[in-house]
């Protein structure tokens, strides 16, 4: 992206507008489909405008961490597929794909929306491992929110595989998934805002991300009808004042509620 494009974006914003004519607090059209991957225990495809992400949940038996022997294990991984952007190359994960996975992971983990104690099979020995894998398929900005929605929808729609207990070992029967859902309560979502020329706006386009001063992602979830915050991540080579952050928290609360309504439970 050349400097003049950044200037163009800024100029549009100065006039109180956005490149695609949205309001500053308006998300693009969001489409969520679940159950798109039959090989996964749960899955979802999310489109936010031209951004497209698929998330799949796989489960397996594994060993607990030594410091939480009675809890299942969550692993979130993101792959920025090389077909999603000419900027993405094959090779080791980019730092932004690591960040994305870790921000999505924290929103899920910190909200305590999954009761990992219920995913313990035998204390200290065997627990369920829950893998959330995110494939970024087309990139037009705001990957974190898309990945967050896809992950939560994949988890919400997942069905546990059957557990077979042998004499002294366990096995997973993937052919016959049970009807049992993951022990889940509350829906954590990430909402992302960028600042361009002093103006805060939601759901940035890729071109807006390239022109932004800074980015703030805020994770919220619903807990018995109340909204709680569970994660934050500032991005980009700039910063925010306390007042700007307060304004973003307000928007995050509102937009989080909107996004949560798009998730179909079970």
């Amino acid at each position: 992206m050349i400097e003049t494009d950044k200037e163009l974006i800024k100029n549009i914003v100065m006039k109180g507008k956005r490149l695609d004519k949205r309001a500053f607090d308006e998300y693009r059209k969001i489409a969520i489909e679940s159950g798109v991957i039959s090989s996964a225990e749960g899955s979802a495809r999310v489109r936010i405008g031209d951004t497209e992400v698929v998330a799949g949940v796989k489960m397996d038996i594994g060993e607990p961490y030594p410091d939480s022997k009675d809890a299942g294990v969550l692993t979130v991984n993101a792959e920025f597929l090389p077909l999603a952007s000419e900027e993405f190359e094959s090779g080791p994960p980019r730092e932004d794909s690591i960040e994305l996975a870790r921000v999505v992971d924290r929103a899920i983990r910190e909200s305590k929306c999954i009761d990992f104690k219920k995913l313990c099979i035998e204390e200290g020995k065997k627990v369920w491992m829950v893998f959330v894998d995110i494939s970024v398929i087309d990139h037009d900005g705001n990957l974190i929110d898309a990945a967050g929605l896809a992950s939560v929808q994949a988890l919400a729609s997942a069905r546990m595989p059957k557990l077979i207990k042998n004499k002294d070992s366990y096995e997973v029967d993937y052919e016959n998934r049970s009807k049992e859902k993951l022990p889940m309560s509350g829906i954590p979502v990430s909402t992302t805002f960028v600042k361009i020329g002093g103006q805060i706006m939601a759901d940035p386009l890729l071109s807006e991300e390239l022109a932004m001063d800074a980015r703030l992602t805020v994770g919220t979830f619903d807990s018995n009808g109340k909204i709680r915050f569970c994660s934050m991540q500032k991005g980009g080579n700039g910063g925010f004042t306390e007042d700007e952050i307060a304004a973003i928290l307000d928007m995050a609360e509102e937009k989080g509620e909107e996004l949560r309504k798009l998730i179909k439970k079970g």
Partner: protein, 231 residues
């Protein structure tokens, strides 16, 4: 009759679509039963790193990947020995239909993601790749169509899938360059007599021909739409 009700020489239901991605120069989705592949093409474009550039022709780079959730047991992300071999045979299957000599010092990158895997993933990958190359407007001598045939319960059948694959006796994937009647990918696992081999190859080729028609239809429809769009 086969486990999933198909006839011996019947393909699984096929779904194909081009232009499925916004950023890639060309793209396609190809689904054969429960196997789904998406391909995105970039190029001809500059080569990085520079020393891989060839003075007389474009280099074709293909990458076959599987999403971690595409298989019954989670696949670890990142390239494996298997995926590297498949990326290579896919590249070698596509080269004959491309005019690489027309774009010296450039690279054409074909990235393929298998989102869901139920046998014949390299075939679906190749079918998607050929469509994506056409969608990118890369000049081609022809498409390449790919399909496998094999043996299960002693029977020779087309496009093995599901239990037929895991319990099957032989799997033989083929890629076909129709204008030249040339087989550009050929691999085989399993045990067969010479006569069986010939029958299986012939059956796989027949499958490729059917797929070729589907590929052409999909491109034609896109082309018509394109015409309409321009009016």
């Amino acid at each position: 009759m086969r486990i999933d009700g198909r006839k011996k020489d019947e393909l699984r239901p096929i779904e194909a679509k081009v232009g499925v991605l916004k950023n890639a120069n060309g793209s396609a989705m190809f689904r054969m039963g429960n196997t789904i592949a998406v391909a995105g093409v970039f190029g001809p474009r500059e080569v990085h790193p520079k020393h891989k550039e060839e003075a007389e022709r474009a280099i074709l780079r293909t990458e076959y990947r599987m999403s971690a959730f595409s298989t019954t047991s989670r696949s670890r992300p990142g390239p494996s020995r298997r995926s590297k071999e498949i990326s290579m045979v896919i590249r070698e299957a596509l080269v004959p239909v491309l005019f690489l000599e027309e774009f010296p010092k450039t690279a054409i990158d074909v990235h393929i993601e298998v989102l869901q895997a139920d046998a014949s993933t390299r075939c679906a990958a190749l079918n998607a790749a050929a469509l994506a190359l056409a969608d990118a407007g890369v000049q081609m001598r022809d498409l390449v169509a790919s399909c496998s045939a094999g043996k299960t319960n002693g029977e020779i059948v087309l496009d093995i899938a599901g239990k037929e694959d895991t319990d099957g006796e032989l799997d033989l994937p083929v890629a076909y360059y129709p204008h030249k009647k040339m087989i550009t990918l050929l691999q085989m696992d399993g045990i067969a007599t010479k006569e069986e081999m010939k029958k299986i190859i012939a059956l796989a080729k027949k499958g490729c021909e059917e797929i070729y028609e589907i590929q052409k239809k999909v491109l034609k429809e896109k082309y018509k739409e394109g015409d309409k769009d321009e009016q």
